[in-house]
C-alpha cells in the first residue's frame, strides 16, 4: 500500500505528532492551487474505462457524480471510427452473453453497429495431437422452437469503444470531463488545505498533461479523485502509484491475429444462421489456433505460438501464410512442424503445394472450417502472451479494473469479458455506496468490489493457464491421454458439458 502521510486507516494522530507532520508537509504542498475535485477519475479509455463511465452515467443513482476520464489517444477519432463494410479491424473480442446483457443494461449495445457484429452458436474444439474433440453446440440443448442460444458475440474492439463513447455522449456533458489526448504526468497524495479547505492528504491528485499538437500550448491540470480507477492496462501507472505488486509470468508465446476472408463452405450450415467457431490445439507448435466468425463469411484468426514461429509466419508472403493457416486446421503435427521450417523465400506456391499434397494423405476431421481464401491487407500482427494478477484490486481511494488488475492467456477469449465484469461489479458497488451514504473511495466500499471479482478472475485466469500448459505437452504420453480422456468424458456427459458451457458464457 502506498504511504499516506496521515493514513486513512489510522486517522487519529496525537496533537504533537500532527503538528510535526503538517509542518513537514507544508514545505512541499502549495496551498494556493487547490485541485479540481472529482468523484471518480478513470485513467484509460479502453473498453473497461469507457464501460465504467457509461455504466455510471446510465444509472440514475450515480449519474450525478462528477466523473473524469483520461486517455492518451484521441477519443474524437475513436468516436468517428469507420471502416468499409467488408473490412474488419484485427482487434476483435468475443463477448459472452453476460457481457452482452451488461452492455444492454447500460444502454450501450444499441450504439453498436450490429452489421459488424457476429454471433456464433457452435464451437468446435479439438486436440491436434490426439484428435479428441469437444463440441459446444447450443442447438442440441434448445428445442427447435426456440432461437438458438449464442455461445458468444464477436465484435471489433473499435466498434465497442465507439458504442461506449456514443452512450457517454448521450448522457450529456454535465459533471463529465473527458481528457482526450492527455497523459497522467504524475500522481501524488494531496495535501491538507487547512484552514480554509478539506483535508485531501489521502486523496490522489493527478497532473494531467495534453499530448500531441496541444502539448506545447496546453497547460497541465490538477485533479483530485475521491476514487481513482486504474483502467490503464498491463503497465498501469495507477497500480504503481498505489504500490500494488503483481504476480505473473510471460508465456514465451505470441498471439498472431489477422482478418481473413473464407471460401464458401462446402456444406451450408443448418439452420442457415448457425455460425461456428473453430479452435485446434497444436501442442508441438506452442498453442491453439482459433478461427472466429465475422459477418459476410469473414473470420478473425488468433494463433498462439512460439515467438520464432510467429516471426516466421509474419515473414511469409500472403499465399504461404494462408496455406499455413489452413494446414494448421488440417495436417498432423509432424507435417506442420515440417512446413514451419520450409524456406519462406521459396516459390510463392510451395506452401500451398505442400498442403495440397499432404492433405491427400491425412484423414481430415469432419469439423474443419472452410479454407481461408484471403488475408485483409495490413491485418497480420502479433502480441506477446502474458499472465498477470495484481495482489489486490483495491487500496484506499484506488480500484483497478481490466488489464491493470489481470492479464490472462487469450485461448478462451475471456480477457475483455473479465474486464467488463469488473466494471459491472465496480459500478454496482459505487451505486450501493452512493445510496447508502458511503464514501465511494473508502476501503469499506471498495472491498465489496474486490471480494466479488478477485476469485472469479483468479479461477478463469487459472483455468486458461492450466489449459495452456496441458496443451503444450507434445507427443503421445500420459498428459495427452489425460487430455483426450478428459475431453472425451466431458463431451459424452451432457450435464458436465452444459455446466462448462454456462461457465464459459459467464453465467
Amino acid at each position: 500500500m502506498r504511504p499516506i502521510s496521515r493514513a486513512v486507516l489510522r486517522p487519529y494522530v496525537c496533537p504533537t505528532c500532527r503538528h510535526g507532520i503538517s509542518a513537514g508537509r507544508r514545505r512541499f504542498g502549495s496551498k494556493s492551487d487547490s485541485p479540481d475535485l472529482y468523484d471518480v477519475v478513470c485513467v484509460g479509455g479502453g473498453p473497461a474505462g469507457l464501460g465504467l463511465l457509461a455504466a455510471l452515467r446510465a444509472s440514475p443513482i450515480t449519474s450525478k457524480l462528477k466523473v473524469a476520464l483520461i486517455e492518451s489517444q484521441d477519443l474524437r477519432k475513436a468516436k468517428a471510427w469507420d471502416l468499409e463494410p467488408n473490412q474488419f479491424s484485427n482487434r476483435v473480442s468475443s463477448l459472452t452473453p453476460s457481457t452482452v446483457s451488461f452492455l444492454h443494461s447500460i444502454g450501450a449495445y444499441d450504439h453498436l453497429d450490429v452489421t459488424r457484429v457476429q454471433e456464433y452458436q457452435d464451437m468446435q474444439v479439438w486436440d491436434g495431437q490426439t484428435g479428441s474433440r469437444i463440441s459446444f453446440d447450443w442447438s442440441m440443448e434448445t428445442s427447435p422452437f426456440e432461437d438458438m442460444r449464442t455461445v458468444a458475440t464477436m465484435t471489433e474492439n473499435a466498434n465497442l469503444v465507439r458504442a461506449l463513447l456514443r452512450r457517454i455522449a448521450d448522457s450529456g456533458d454535465e459533471n463529465l470531463s473527458l481528457f482526450s489526448n492527455s497523459t497522467v504526468a504524475s500522481i501524488e497524495n494531496g495535501s491538507d488545505l487547512k484552514p480554509e479547505g478539506p483535508d485531501l492528504s489521502a486523496w490522489p491528485v493527478l497532473t494531467v498533461k495534453p499530448t500531441g499538437p496541444a502539448a506545447e500550448t496546453g497547460t497541465p491540470k490538477r485533479i483530485a479523485a475521491r476514487l481513482l480507477v486504474g483502467a490503464d492496462g498491463i503497465n498501469s501507472p495507477v497500480r504503481s502509484f498505489a504500490d500494488i505488486p503483481t504476480q505473473g509470468w510471460d508465456y514465451g508465446r505470441h498471439g498472431i491475429v489477422a482478418t481473413l476472408a473464407l471460401a464458401e463452405p462446402a456444406t451450408q450450415p443448418f439452420p442457415a444462421s448457425k455460425r461456428t467457431a473453430y479452435q485446434r490445439f497444436l501442442p508441438s507448435l506452442g498453442g491453439p489456433i482459433a478461427l472466429l466468425p465475422l459477418p459476410n463469411n469473414h473470420a478473425t484468426l488468433v494463433w498462439s505460438t512460439t515467438p520464432e514461429n510467429a516471426a516466421y509466419l509474419k515473414s511469409l508472403p500472403t499465399p504461404a501464410f494462408l496455406a499455413m493457416v489452413n494446414a494448421a486446421f488440417r495436417l498432423d503435427m509432424t507435417d506442420l512442424n515440417y512446413m514451419m521450417g520450409m524456406q519462406s523465400s521459396g516459390s510463392t506456391h510451395s506452401h500451398q503445394d505442400e498442403l495440397t499434397w499432404r492433405a491427400q494423405h491425412t484423414p481430415l476431421p469432419t469439423q474443419i472450417p472452410p479454407p481461408a481464401a484471403a488475408v485483409q491487407t495490413g491485418t497480420v500482427a502479433s502480441f506477446p502472451l502474458r499472465f498477470r494478477h495484481a495482489a489486490q484490486y483495491v487500496s484506499p481511494r484506488i480500484a483497478l479494473v481490466g488489464d491493470a488488475a489481470h492479464v490472462i492467456h487469450p485461448l478462451a477469449g475471456q480477457g475483455l469479458n473479465l474486464g467488463l465484469a469488473d466494471v459491472a461489479s465496480l459500478s454496482k458497488t459505487i451505486q450501493y455506496a452512493v445510496s447508502h451514504g458511503m464514501d465511494v473511495g473508502d476501503l469499506l466500499t471498495l472491498e465489496r468490489y474486490s471480494s466479488e471479482r478477485y476469485l472469479p478472475n483468479a479461477k478463469i485466469g487459472g483455468a486458461c493457464d492450466l489449459l495452456h500448459k496441458m496443451y503444450n505437452v507434445p507427443g503421445e504420453g500420459p498428459v495427452a491421454w489425460a487430455r483426450s480422456l478428459g475431453l472425451g468424458v466431458v463431451d459424452r456427459l451432457p450435464f458436465v458439458k452444459s455446466f462448462l458451457m454456462k461457465n464459459a458464457e459467464g453465467y
Binding site: R10, P11, Y12, P15, H19, K64, P198, D199, G437, E447
Partner: protein, 360 residues
C-alpha cells in the same frame, strides 16, 4: 452467525451514561473547555463525568479513538452494519414523515439528530447524502437536509470532526452548518443551550459560518447501539427515551438499534462471537450481556415515554398516544463472509432495529 459489538463500545456507554446523569441541571455543563489551545491538556470527557473514567479506561479510550475509522479495526463490524441503518430509516420514512406537506416527496427536508454519535460512523455517512444545493432532489430516500450529531466525549467529537474533513462534501456541510458535531448532551439540546461551535482549533472559521440556530425539534432522532449501554444505577432507559421523544417533531421517527437479552443472543454474542480465533470475531469482554434490552422492553418504555412526552403539551396527551403507537422492529444478523442481513423475526437472536413514530 453472531451479533457483534466491538470491545470499544462500553466506552461510548460511559459517555452516554454521563449524558444520562446530567439530566439534573448542573453548573458543570458550562465548564466545557474549548479545545482552542492544543498545548493545554484537554479533558478526555466533559468535566462532570471525568470522575467516572478510570486510568485503565482512559488508555482503552485512546485505543478506541485511533482505530474507530480503521476499516479493519475493532469497529469493522459496526462499519459493515452502517448501510443497514440507512435501509431501515428509508423503510420507516416510506410510511410517512413529519413533513407531509413537502412540495415533492424527494426533496431533502428532514432534520436529523444523532444521539451518541461516537466517532461519527452513522452521522458522517448521513451527512454525505445531504445535497450541496438544498433545492436539488435528495440523492437517497433518507431525505436528509441537516444532521446534528451529539456526543458527550470531547475526544470522540474531535476525532469525528477531524475525519469529516477528509471528505470535501462533508467538510462543506460542516462549514455551512448543515452538519454539526456538538460536544453536548441531549438535555442541553432540549434546553436549547447547545454550544454552536466547540472546536475553534480545528475549524477557526466555523464560529462565523455556523450561525444557523440548532432546531430544538427534529424530524428523525437516531439512537444506534446506545440503549444497551445505559447504566441502570445512574439513569433509566425510560427517562432517556422520553427525552429523545421530546426532541422529536410530531410525525417524526425515533429510530435505533440494540441487542436483545435472550438465550440465543447469549449463545451467539457471549459464546460464539467471543470464542477464541478463528471462531470468534470480537475480542473477549466485548459485551455486557445483562445490559442488553429486549424488543418488548423498548416498546414498553416507548409507550410510557410517548405519554410522558405528550404530557409536556407538544402533542395530544394520555394513553391514546401510546395505543396508536407506530412501532417497527426487525432483526439483523451478521454472517461471516456474507455480512449483515435484515432477517424479520430474528429480533430475539441478537441485534435488532426498532423505530417508533410520534403521532402527528
Amino acid at each position: 452467525m453472531a451479533s457483534l459489538r466491538p470491545r470499544t463500545f462500553p466506552l461510548s456507554a460511559r459517555a452516554l451514561r454521563s449524558t444520562l446523569r446530567s439530566t439534573r441541571p448542573s453548573p458543570n455543563h458550562f465548564l466545557f473547555a474549548p479545545a482552542s489551545a492544543p498545548s493545554t491538556p484537554t479533558p478526555l470527557t466533559r468535566a462532570h463525568s471525568t470522575s467516572s473514567v478510570s486510568a485503565d479506561e482512559l488508555s482503552h479510550f485512546s485505543a478506541l479513538a485511533s482505530s474507530w475509522w480503521d476499516p479493519m479495526g475493532p469497529s469493522r463490524i459496526l462499519h459493515l452494519m452502517n448501510p443497514l441503518r440507512h435501509e431501515f430509516i428509508a423503510s420507516c420514512l416510506a410510511e410517512g414523515t413529519s413533513n407531509p406537506t413537502a412540495s415533492t416527496p424527494s426533496t431533502a427536508t428532514l432534520n436529523y439528530l444523532d444521539v451518541g454519535c461516537g466517532g461519527g460512523i452513522f452521522a458522517e455517512s448521513l451527512a454525505r447524502t445531504i445535497p450541496l444545493d438544498p433545492t436539488s432532489p435528495a440523492p437517497t430516500p433518507t431525505l436528509a437536509a441537516s444532521m446534528t450529531a451529539i456526543d458527550p466525549s470531547t475526544d470522540l467529537i474531535r476525532m469525528a470532526r477531524e475525519h469529516a474533513r477528509m471528505d470535501p462534501t462533508v467538510d462543506t456541510h460542516l462549514r455551512t452548518g448543515r452538519f454539526k458535531y456538538l460536544n453536548t448532551t441531549l438535555e442541553d439540546v432540549l434546553a436549547g443551550n447547545a454550544p454552536i461551535s466547540t472546536s475553534a482549533s480545528t475549524l477557526p472559521d466555523s464560529s462565523s459560518t455556523s450561525t444557523q440556530v440548532t432546531p430544538s425539534q427534529y424530524d428523525v432522532v437516531t439512537l444506534f447501539e446506545v440503549l444497551e449501554h445505559i447504566d441502570p444505577k445512574t439513569s433509566t432507559p425510560l427517562s432517556f427515551l422520553t427525552n429523545c421523544l421530546r426532541a422529536l417533531k410530531p410525525g417524526g421517527w425515533l429510530i435505533g438499534s440494540t441487542i436483545s437479552r435472550t438465550l440465543p443472543s447469549f449463545i451467539l454474542n457471549q459464546v460464539i462471537a467471543e470464542a477464541p480465533w478463528p471462531i470468534g470475531v470480537v475480542p473477549r469482554g466485548t459485551h455486557e450481556w445483562n445490559k442488553f434490552v429486549n424488543p418488548d422492553e423498548v416498546k414498553g418504555w416507548l409507550q410510557e415515554g410517548l405519554m410522558r412526552a405528550a404530557d409536556t403539551g407538544v402533542s395530544r396527551g394520555g394513553s391514546a398516544v401510546a395505543e396508536g403507537m407506530r412501532w417497527k422492529c426487525v432483526g439483523a444478523i451478521y454472517v461471516p463472509g456474507i455480512g449483515w442481513k435484515m432477517v424479520p423475526g430474528s429480533e430475539d437472536w441478537g441485534n435488532y432495529f426498532w423505530a417508533v413514530r410520534k403521532e402527528l
